[in-house]
Amino acid sequence: MVKITFDGIEVEVEEGTTILNAARKIGGEVVPPAMCYYTPLKGSGGKCRACLVKVAAGSVKDPRPMPKLVASCITPVQDGMVVENTTNPDVLAARKGVVEMLLINHPLDCPICDQAGECDLQNFAYEHGTSGTRYEEERRTFDKIDIGPLIQLHMTRCILCYRCVYTADQITEKRVHGVLGRGDAAEIGTYIENVIDNEFSGNVIDVCPVGALTDKTFRFKNRVWFTKPLDAHRDCPKCSGKVVLWMRGNDVLRVTGRKDQYGEVQEFICNECRFDHKDPQDWTIEGPRHIDQRSVIATNHYELPVLNVPVVPNLPGSTEEDLKSTPFNLGRQV
């Protein structure tokens, strides 16, 4: 075990832990934002530079500060390391810079984007950006690209985090899509307008932090904050079958994997669960999905905040930490 100080808070973590994961152990406001890092995906991280932090002291052995800001998602901790995140003006300035850069070529079409309400970039920009931009030039746009009946690729919105590429590479057998081109001309593409059609391809939708890859069976059916997320499962021979059903009334509008508080799926699910089972009868419903209170989705109060109701311990899908950290607790079973 090694000890590090993160924004003045001491925390003990296992050797080999990254700075980001050490911060996640503390939790809450001090956790650096992450756009490209995704725990279940090997090799992810290091690219978007959203999680940059200052290492004010390297370790007990070598207490010198690191000369540049480092990507916390890929930098392992050392015993005695001192990290500055929200307490360092350079870090905050760099983060503003990263938001500004990411928004150069990402359209602010949130009102018509399917990812609105559950977009990492929206949250990142809201928390770390400025309200204006200094960019006056023409932005890049793309024609619509057809990659099959299930997934919509809207390249204009892509921020090239590579998460979908790693997903396809690591959990599907035949990867047909990747990054083509260089620099700001780089794009996610399928080799000569191919179709993405293997059994786990739908997971690229879940990992996409923005609205570049969305679910064609859900597109424009509803806004996420009007839907009601429920944890559910079914007996599936291909995957764990543990999903979230996004319902409106008695209709299942969308099925996704279950995500943790950092937006990462707990388990990847197969396309059959995701796309082919839109009948509530197909599922065993476990209960409401706990959604972070600050989330845009939470604002529609589908989980009615009921005051003075005893805490329901071990509610499926909610961690004890969640229950402790919110002033309201979930009192309603659906």
Binding site: G46, I74, N105, E137, D184
Partner: protein
């Protein structure tokens, strides 16, 4: 005349063939190393020589070699970086074209020192004709027993391959080069782990520049002590400088480290002065990514001393008043050069070559280019000038690999040292965009 360690025989008729090269002392270092020295002794010689990497960063070569991990049961690789894509730098190409056997000899001696069984020369894809020259030299070395199994009966075996890149500047960055050599997209890797621990195919790897490797035979033949006698301070030996721009004699020169910048530019032995007798305006001393310096700062350090052609002297004063020796691409601009246009050209290059992995470089390089384009074409605003500095700052130091810095520094330095020229473009768009118009600091009008 300065001493020539690399280029002594460069103009000998037929030196590109094995026989002529051998007659002029070629491959002596292989014989000496394999027959009379242990690999550790060769590493020690290179360490003592003080040789610093000639690819740009100037990291001590011997030290890099001694970092190479030596795990049991894993191969080790030496990869020669012959990508040479930095604008203004063309020294490696010259060396390989004229003296292919020198590089092959250096690869064999260096591979022996590092305990490599297979080595690669990764060459820029556009240089196909040089690839053929190298392939021929390698075939001759095989035929004469200097490559392959049991070289010179020493028990040491080595295979050497040349591999052409696809023509991307970023593939000169060592980790992107390794990705590319592995057959993947040339994206730089996150470091650490460094190649010395996790390099080609996950094995310990040294990546060295052509000139660095080509220097090793001389050091082995003539001893490290002799090598260290040449040069000044921590800049030992000689350096190839590719000189271009508005000078009378553009070309590749081997200089002894420590001659003055003034001598290099104005003496007949080297650049021969500014063409047409014009005045010098600015110099980029080490390839397009290093900060540009105006005439007074390139000739004298901030303390008023003569600026020398060494790593230390050129970087004296940090980025406020200094620059870098870099890869030795020495680019001279006369007083008719438009700094704004020139900076835009460089920004265009870096924008085009960014691999696009990290957000600040991917988006920032394009932004810089577009703002510079606007200013150059008479559509700039005064606040654009500060915007350039601010965007450069957002990129610098925040990216995965140094290409981000390479894109930011030229812009930041141009604005720092030539701000008036940018302002003139904004304030007088009609003058600035008329053909051939150039800002003249003294007259504050068109030159």
């Amino acid at each position: 005349m300065g001493r020539k360690l690399l280029t002594e025989h460069i103009n000998v008729e037929g030196i590109e063939t094995f026989d002529v090269y051998r007659k002029h002392g070629g491959y002596a270092s292989v014989e000496k190393a394999l027959k009379t020295m242990t690999p550790e002794e060769v590493v020690e010689e290179v360490k003592t020589s003080g040789l610093r990497g000639r690819g740009g960063a100037g990291f001590p070569t011997g030290m890099k070699w001694s970092f190479l991990a030596k795990p049991e049961g894993k191969p080790r690789y030496l990869v020669c970086n012959a990508d040479e894509s930095e604008p203004g730098t063309f020294k490696d190409r010259y060396l390989m074209e004229k003296l292919p056997h020198l590089l092959v000899e250096g690869m064999i001696t260096s591979s022996y020192a590092l305990g490599c069984r297979t080595s690669y020369i990764y060459i820029r894809g556009e240089l196909m004709y040089i690839l053929r020259i190298l392939e021929k030299a390698i075939a001759e070395a095989y035929a004469n027993g200097f490559l392959g199994e049991n070289i010179l009966g020493s028990g040491y075996s080595l295979d050497l391959h040349v591999h052409p890149g696809g023509g991307a500047y970023i593939c000169g960055e060592e980790t992107a080069l390794l990705e590319s050599l592995e057959g993947k997209r040339g994206n730089p890797r996150n470091k650490p782990p460094f190649p010395a621990v996790w390099g080609l195919y996950g094995s310990p790897t040294v990546v060295n520049n052509v000139e660095s490797i080509a220097t090793v035979p001389w050091i082995v033949n003539n001893t490290a002590a002799e090598y260290a006698k040449i040069g000044v301070g921590r800049s030992t030996g000689t350096k190839l400088i590719s000189a271009g721009g508005n000078i009378n004699k553009p070309g590749v020169y081997e200089i002894e480290m420590g001659i003055t910048v003034e001598e290099f530019i104005y003496s007949e032995e080297y650049c021969g002065g500014i063409w047409k007798g014009r005045d010098m305006k600015a110099v980029i001393a080490g390839g397009s990514s290093v900060p540009i310096l105006p005439k007074d700062l390139i000739l004298k350090t901030a303390a008023g001393e003569d600026r020398l052609m060494t790593y230390e002297s050129l970087s004296d004063g940090g980025f406020a008043t200094g620059t870098m020796l870099g890869s030795g691409g020495f680019f001279v601009m006369d007083d008719q050069t438009c700094i704004v246009r020139h900076t835009w050209t460089l920004a265009r290059f870096y924008h085009h070559e960014s691999c696009g992995q990290c957000s600040p470089c991917r988006e920032g390089t394009g932004w810089l280019e577009k703002v510079l384009h606007r200013i150059e074409y008479g559509h700039g605003h005064m606040h654009d000038i500060d915007l350039l500095v601010s965007v450069a700052k957002q990129i610098e130091g925040n990216t995965i690999c140094p290409l981000g810095d390479a894109a930011a520094w030229p812009v930041a330095a141009a604005v720092r040292h030539f701000r008036e020229e940018f302002e003139w473009h904004v304030k007088h768009p009609e003058q600035a965009t008329s053909p051939g118009a150039v800002f003249n600091k003294n007259a504050s009008v068109l030159a």
